[in-house]
């Protein structure tokens, strides 16, 4: 379990406002439990040795057959083409390669983000209107 995967799980907890999350996949298990918020200004404790380049290993998502759809740019994530409209996709939907999954707004431009492959939306990890950074996991796609 590397830092990047942990961060993705933490974001999942955040976006669904979970107190506790336990995942078991591919023979590995992790449990994350939220406590009361720490006061602002608590310094970040540096780990004894910071990780070097992330090892090329399958994430639990991928080993469970899930493909991560990540943000190709920085901006604000929207689930629908306009406020009040139906979202592009819901969990469980089947999408084709090229289907529009969401919009990322950047510098007043609405960019449509398309699926790279056919699949079924297993998870939506980001909330409507949430800011996203480059590389952030937006959706998990399962087999069609």
């Amino acid at each position: 379990m590397d830092l990047k995967e942990l961060k993705a799980l933490l974001r999942l907890m955040d976006s669904h406002d979970l107190e506790e999350l336990e995942i078991e996949a591919g023979g590995r298990r992790v449990r994350l439990r939220r406590r009361a918020a720490t006061p602002a200004g608590v310094p970040v404790a540096l780990p004894a040795s910071l990780p070097t380049a992330p090892a090329a290993q399958a994430s639990p998502d991928e080993s469970a057959g899930l493909l991560a759809v990540t943000a190709p740019m920085v901006g604000t994530f929207y689930r629908a083409p306009s406020p009040g409209a139906e979202p592009f996709v819901k969990e469980g939907d089947l999408v084709q390669k090229g289907s529009v999954l969401c919009i990322i707004e950047a510098m007043k431009l609405m960019n449509e983000i398309e699926a790279e492959a056919k699949g079924r939306i297993a998870r939506i990890l980001v909330a409507n209107g949430q800011p996203v950074e480059f590389g952030q996991t937006l959706f998990l796609l399962g087999p069609a």
């Binding site: 004894a48 920085v74 800011p131 480059f134 590389g135």
Partner: protein, 447 residues
């Protein structure tokens, strides 16, 4: 004053800007590439936004992602650091258009001084000496001879369309001019597709001396003295000092005034540096203006007691200069050594993980670095690991202090240029203050 500053840079300068923001109690957002996701600046900033994969072109130079990151975090100012987009007039304009303050000079001043020919013309118009040179490229031996006679030998022939030492020839005597022009033109054609050659006065052992200036938006401007950056290898600075051993107080004043004059004529604001070449007889010549905070700014901070990065933020927020020229005091002597992760023999980058990084300390020592034990140097960016800066009451103490500091600097896991600095500090010419842009070359040849 701003509420949140976005730092569009990485490494030691990103940390430096975070330090200034922290002391000004401003919130910080750091944008970073995936390769820098676990770096110290990311850890220390209040917020961090990943803006792209490792290559600078897709991250640190990606204007859309940087502006977008400012928008989603609500940053009202951007500090570009040095390098990357720091001197990109277009980026400064985009910030202006998006209502985000660019911490630096106005875009128009960046563009004006970014054009080297335009900058020289501006300096000349202000009566500031410029290195005598041909205004247009020469293409015939006759034109070259005419220019060279006007300029005065020795001259250097330089490719109009490029640099990096190619298409360059030094000509000391008129008889050698025609042949030198032919080879320089052929080289220029081969390297840059254009045989045009500039003819310029050649200074045999020039000092590179630059003046730090600060200007506000209400007509206030000061110069903070000089930095001597003559120790260079292939036009890359290795060691800088303030004040310059080659300057008298009178010369310092003349150069300072000339620098301010050029900056004002360019409509400049905020921090900037005017570069000059100094010949052996106390003549100085304008070279160019750098419209950004520089790597070597700490030596000026050490001798003036001022925080230049805080002043940049202060001035960008519309405040006036907090001091007049007669209130600028230079005290003592400062040196900076740029420690890079390079093989000290051949200067090839040395990649790897720092198994030990123990910076020096003690009186009069300052270290600006993003490195730490266990840090893996990403191969995508420059190899600057740390700046070791010392201050002493005079040049002799500063040199002794730097030698002591370098001796107690422990960096294991990669090769560094520390041995080069140690040799330099021991060299009799350096100790005597006889620095020039040729000194390092000679030292490297002697070894």
């Amino acid at each position: 004053m701003f509420s949140k500053v976005l730092i569009a840079n990485r490494g030691e300068i990103a940390l430096r800007i975070i330090q200034a923001c922290r002391e000004l109690r401003l919130r910080t957002v750091l944008v970073h590439s995936q390769a820098d996701a676990e770096s110290l600046p990311v850890q220390f900033a209040d917020e961090a936004v990943c803006i792209g994969p490792a290559p600078a072109r897709e991250s640190y130079l990606k204007i859309a992602n940087i502006i977008s990151a400012a928008e989603i975090t609500g940053a009202d100012a951007i500090h570009p650091g040095y390098g990357f987009l720091a001197e990109n007039g277009h980026f400064a304009e985009v910030c202006e258009q998006c209502g985000i303050c660019f911490i630096g000079p106005p875009a128009v001043a960046i563009r004006r001084m970014g054009d080297k020919v335009e900058a020289r013309r501006l300096a000349e118009a202000e009566g500031v000496p410029v290195l005598p040179g041909s205004r247009e490229p020469v293409r015939t031996p006759g034109a070259a001879r005419e220019e060279a006679e006007k300029i005065g030998f020795p001259v250097i022939l330089k490719a109009a369309a490029g640099g990096g030492g190619r298409g360059m020839r030094v000509v000391t005597a008129p008889e050698a001019l025609e042949a030198a022009l032919a080879t320089a033109a052929a080289e220029a054609e081969a390297a840059f597709g254009d045989p045009g050659i500039y003819v310029e006065r050649y200074l045999t052992e020039p000092r590179h001396v630059e003046i730090q200036v600060l200007l506000d938006g209400a007509g206030g401007g000061v110069h903070l003295g000089e930095r001597d950056c003559s120790i260079q290898r292939r036009h890359q600075k290795l060691l800088e000092e303030a004040p310059s051993p080659g300057l008298s107080q009178a010369l310092r004043q003349s150069m300072g005034e000339a620098a301010l004059q050029v900056a004002r004529a360019a409509g400049y604001q905020n921090a900037g540096t005017v570069e000059f070449l100094l010949d052996g007889s106390g003549h100085f010549y304008f070279m160019e203006m750098n419209t950004r905070i520089q790597v070597e700014h700490p030596v000026t901070e050490m001798v003036t007691g001022l925080d230049l990065v805080k002043l940049q933020i202060w001035l960008a927020a519309g405040e006036r200069l907090p001091l007049r020229q007669d209130e600028v005091r230079l005290a003592g002597h400062s040196l900076e050594c740029r420690i890079t992760a390079e093989d000290p023999e051949r200067f090839l980058p040395s990649a790897g993980t720092l198994t030990l990084f123990r910076p020096p300390g003690g009186p009069g020592v300052r270290v600006d670095t993003h490195a730490y034990t266990g840090y893996t140097i990403p191969p995508f960016y420059d190899s600057l690991l740390a700046k070791i800066i010392v201050h002493g009451r005079d040049r002799e103490e500063a040199i002794t202090r730097m030698r002591r500091a370098l001796d107690e600097t422990l960096i294991h896991g990669v090769k560094t240029t520390i041995p080069v600095h140690q040799a330099l500090l021991l060299h009799p010419s350096f100790a005597a203050g006889r620095t020039s842009t040729r000194l390092l070359e000679r030292l490297v040849q002697e070894r």
